[in-house]
């Protein structure tokens, strides 16, 4: 069980890394993009906007840390 947990932790750290908000924003943005595109909206701007928001948020969190 502990090796499964260790592997899970390794995968989490490998993919998600130092800041989980990046992964959350990316997944939410892809979902929103798919939804908008499904309803015929030209949603090409959605992902660049999410990248900007994610990077700004993540950096703000990093520099605010003590």
């Amino acid at each position: 069980m502990s090796s499964v947990r260790t592997f899970g932790r390794f995968c989490y750290e490998f993919v998600v890394g130092d800041d989980w908000t990046v992964a959350v924003v990316v997944v939410a943005a892809i979902g929103l993009t798919a939804l908008l595109a499904h309803h015929g909206v030209a949603a090409w701007w959605c992902m660049p906007l999410a990248v900007t928001a994610s990077l700004v948020l993540s950096l703000a969190r990093a520099v605010r840390r003590p």
């Binding site: 490998f14 993919v15 998600v16 890394g17 130092d18 800041d19 990046v22 992964a23 990316v26 997944v27 892809i30 993009t33 798919a34 595109a37 499904h38 030209a42 949603a43 090409w44 959605c46 992902m47 660049p48 990248v51 900007t52 994610s54 990077l55 700004v56 993540s58 950096l59 990093a62 520099v63």
Partner: protein, 250 residues
């Protein structure tokens, strides 16, 4: 165009990771001898090659839209993490990667452990772990980048070229490659992974980019300018705010 970017991105990502792996291998090899260290490094390279050979074609069998959403999302998360670290380092909020300091620390650590058998398993394990863990990111980039463009072989070639260049220089100079501009390489790779991830994930989600593939160039330019702008802002901020000192190197 995208083929050139594919090779450049895998080459740069591999070069950065291989420089870090080389530091560990050199520290172990110089301190504890080369036989077990070399076996550890070679075994790790074989394991990484096996991962690419097995997973690469399997991933490429997925439907293109699903592949681009999944791979795009992973590349995006990965790229943003690289970019975040590179921006924090470039602006002074995080310590620059110092290969000389890491080398000295590694030498001190491996010297403290006694050799207890004819084959030095400790040196083997440290070298294996160093090369495997550093190389895992490269294998991941080769598989995701290569499979999305249907060119895993080409992506692997970029990684292999970096391995040959770094290993050759390492064998000649026999010292950590501290002059490689690691942070700027990471910055560039972060920009490319983020841009490709943005482009593919949106495309996989059903978006038609204005102008098609050519829009990728605009996305790369946008991400690069965004990253440079954020670096400038944080650099100015770090100079005005009294910092207790850069964080430890990861």
């Amino acid at each position: 165009m995208s083929t050139l970017l594919l090779v450049l991105a895998t080459f740069a990502a591999s070069a950065v990771e291989m420089v870090e792996a080389l530091t560990i291998v050199l520290a172990v090899g110089v301190t504890r001898g080369w036989r077990a260290t070399a076996w550890g490094g070679i075994t790790a390279l074989v394991a990484l090659t096996a991962i690419v050979v097995v997973l690469g074609p399997a991933v490429a069998q997925l439907p293109l839209a699903a592949l681009r959403v999944g791979v795009g999302a992973l590349l995006l998360v990965f790229g943003l993490q690289w970019l975040r670290k590179a921006i924090l380092r470039a602006s002074g909020y995080k310590a620059q990667h110092d290969e000389d300091a890491i080398y000295r620390q590694e030498v001190a650590e491996v010297s403290a452990v006694a050799v207890t058998s004819a084959f030095d398993w400790y040196a083997f394990t440290i070298a294996f772990k160093g090369v495997f863990l550093e190389g895992l990111e490269v294998a991941f980039i080769v598989i995701t980048f290569g499979s999305s463009q249907g060119r895993i072989g080409l992506a692997a070639l970029g990684a292999l070229a970096a391995l040959v260049v770094v290993a050759t220089i390492g064998a000649i100079v026999h010292a950590p490659l501290s002059r490689v501009p690691e942070n700027w390489l990471k910055f560039g790779v972060g920009v490319m992974l983020t841009s490709f991830g943005t482009f593919w994930s949106a495309e996989g989600a059903g978006v038609d980019w204005p102008g098609g593939e050519i829009c990728l160039v605009a996305v790369i330019a946008y991400v690069a300018l965004l990253a440079i702008g954020l670096t400038r802002v944080l650099t100015i901020r770090s100079r005005t705010v009294l910092l207790p000192g850069p964080a430890a190197t990861s």
